[in-house]
Amino acid sequence: MASITLDNLGKVYPGGTRAVGGVNIDIEDGEFIVLVGPSGCGKSTLLRMVAGLESITEGEVRIGDRVVNNVEPADRDIAMVFQNYALYPHMSVRQNLAYGLKNRGTPKAEIERRVNEAAEILQIGPFLDRKPRALSGGQRQRVAMGRAITREPAAFLFDEPLSNLDAKLRVAMRLEIKELQKRLRTTSIYVTHDQLEAMTLADRLVVLNGGRIEQIGTPLEVYRRPASTFVASFIGSPAMNLLDARAVPHLPGTAHAGTIGIRPEDLILAEDGPIEMTVIAVEELGAQRLVHGRTGGEAITIALPSDSPLGDTLKLGFERKNLHLFNRESGNRVD
């Protein structure tokens, strides 16, 4: 186990593409860090630099006290779970789990013990002698996890490991990964573009945009106090309403902000509310209904209990503490 430090880390690809820049993260021993952001924001690049699969063009990666910029992937004491699982198709599950140990000259009995232990933890015992192609997606996913844990590495790196699974299995595996990590207390970096997955798994979230960090914090911190309009619209579903302050006049204390943000679930129906909304569409989600509409020319969404009354226009209010204020130009939080 080890802490991981990314010190002013940057990556410019040979073609001149800047994928990552100025990334500073201190990951504590045993912490579960989730890198989240839209497609192409540099999550994989960052993870692969930690793994040693991508060269580091700026800054430093430290695992424990050791600078690993020029250390081979095999010698970084990390294990990685790939999006496509990357199981060796010509080897049995057992051989897949044992391969990393065999290469390091681990004694046979010890390999046997660790493989069986991993198989038990992940409940893949019955498949040990099958080839990966004879497994379902979820089982392959477990084998990929098993390959990581038999090595007992200092850190796990996950690159969107659940994105090839169907929605239901994804939720189940998400929980399992979380439990497994709690149990093993292994430092983990997990990449995903699914904000829900990020929220549920992370000890701390790192929100990336265009290769730069927008915000680092616990899921609740990030949810409650998004540092920018980008984070505000990316974290939380349905996304936060971002309105031009001029479209909602007469709000006290918003004069210095260009953009105000309010989450759909923080809006309430109020006869004397400051916002008047024209309803355009309603989405019934069962427990909730999402009402989409416009106010002062801007799109707005409100989440209401499914038994609340509807009309062509709604008067909306909110509590002052639920208001988020952002600078119009920079998008940064100003309150």
Binding site: A51, G52, L53, E72, P73, A74, I78, A79, M80, F82, Q83, N84, A86, Y88, P89, H90, Y99, G100, N103, R104, K131, R133, R147, R151
Partner: protein
């Protein structure tokens, strides 16, 4: 796929006719003739033809020259296959690593394939010519006296190189395609699992290439056995002392030069059986056994 229904019963046959005619005239009919010939014997003047049953075949098995030809063919086919596939794999692996700059390299490597075997044969014959060639000159400098006109092993090496050369580009393309089809993440996973480049190659890359390798193995053996006639003819003509007289060349030599039609036909029937066997192995094995 879209299925077309022909109302006219004749049309499908008309459309097939040219292909069927070509197959019949250039393949089935000569093959039938060869089979018929192989049971017949002509006298020295080609006037009387008699039915001799399997005697042409049994004569082959008693002929030291034919048994030698079998041995030569085996050595030749195995060497050509190993050399052409080995070199191609080496080149393909290095290109696969370079990836980007590989396009020029790839184009250059395809050229040999566009050169007719006879031209290739003459080219190599010149390069290795004991009096004017560059290779004997260079070999002489390191103290090797090259002479494929008198040395059996030199002659074999020459025909192997001349034959393998052309096949390298073909194999190379298949190997590159095969390598590109292996997901990069597998090699990355192996790298993280502590396998160095050589180990990665033997543990991951090579096993995953096995369908390509097996396919090429059969293609190259077939090539070496049946399509190298022109190379042999333009370099050694089967010599010296039968050292490079492979089966397909012997068919030609015995039939057209030696005028022994019965024996030549029997030999080509044997060759036909070998092609059929290889084809069956190809289909059976490639589809069933070589998978992972």
């Amino acid at each position: 796929m879209k299925r077309t229904i022909f109302n006219n019963q004749l049309l499908p046959w008309l459309l097939l006719a040219p292909q069927l005619a070509i197959t019949f005239i250039f393949f089935l009919w000569p093959a039938g003739q060869a089979v018929k010939q192989s049971f017949l014997s002509q006298d020295a003047f080609g006037i009387n033809t008699t039915f001799v049953g399997l005697r042409n075949f049994t004569a082959l098995l008693d002929s030291a020259e034919y048994l030698n030809s079998l041995k030569v063919t085996a050595v030749f086919a195995v060497s050509v296959t190993l050399v052409s596939m080995g070199v191609a794999l080496l080149l393909a692996v290095s290109v696969d690593r370079m990836l980007k700059s590989s396009r020029v390299y790839t184009t250059l490597l395809v050229w040999p394939y566009a050169v007719a075997p006879a031209v290739a044969g003459i080219l190599w014959w010149f390069i290795f010519n004991p009096t004017v060639g560059i290779m004997p000159y260079m070999l002489d400098m390191i103290g090797y006296d090259w002479n494929h006109v008198s040395s059996k092993s030199d002659a074999m090496i020459l025909v192997v190189i001349a034959s393998a050369w052309k096949q390298i580009s073909y194999n190379f393309l298949f190997f590159v395609a095969g390598l590109q089809a292996i997901p990069a993440s597998l090699r990355e996973a192996a790298a993280i699992d502590g396998a160095g480049p050589v180990r990665r190659f033997f543990d991951i890359t090579f096993p995953l290439l096995s369908p390509t390798t097996f396919f090429l193995l059969v293609v190259n053996i077939v090539y070496a056995m049946f399509e190298t006639f022109a190379v042999i003819d333009s370099t050694t003509e089967g010599g010296p002392a039968q050292a490079t007289n492979i089966m397909v060349y012997k068919v030609y030599f015995d039939g057209f030069v030696g005028q022994n039609m019965g024996s030549s036909a029997a030999q080509s029937v044997v060759l036909m059986l070998i092609v059929i066997a290889l084809t069956i192995i190809q289909f059976r094995w490639v589809e069933k056994k070589v998978e992972y």
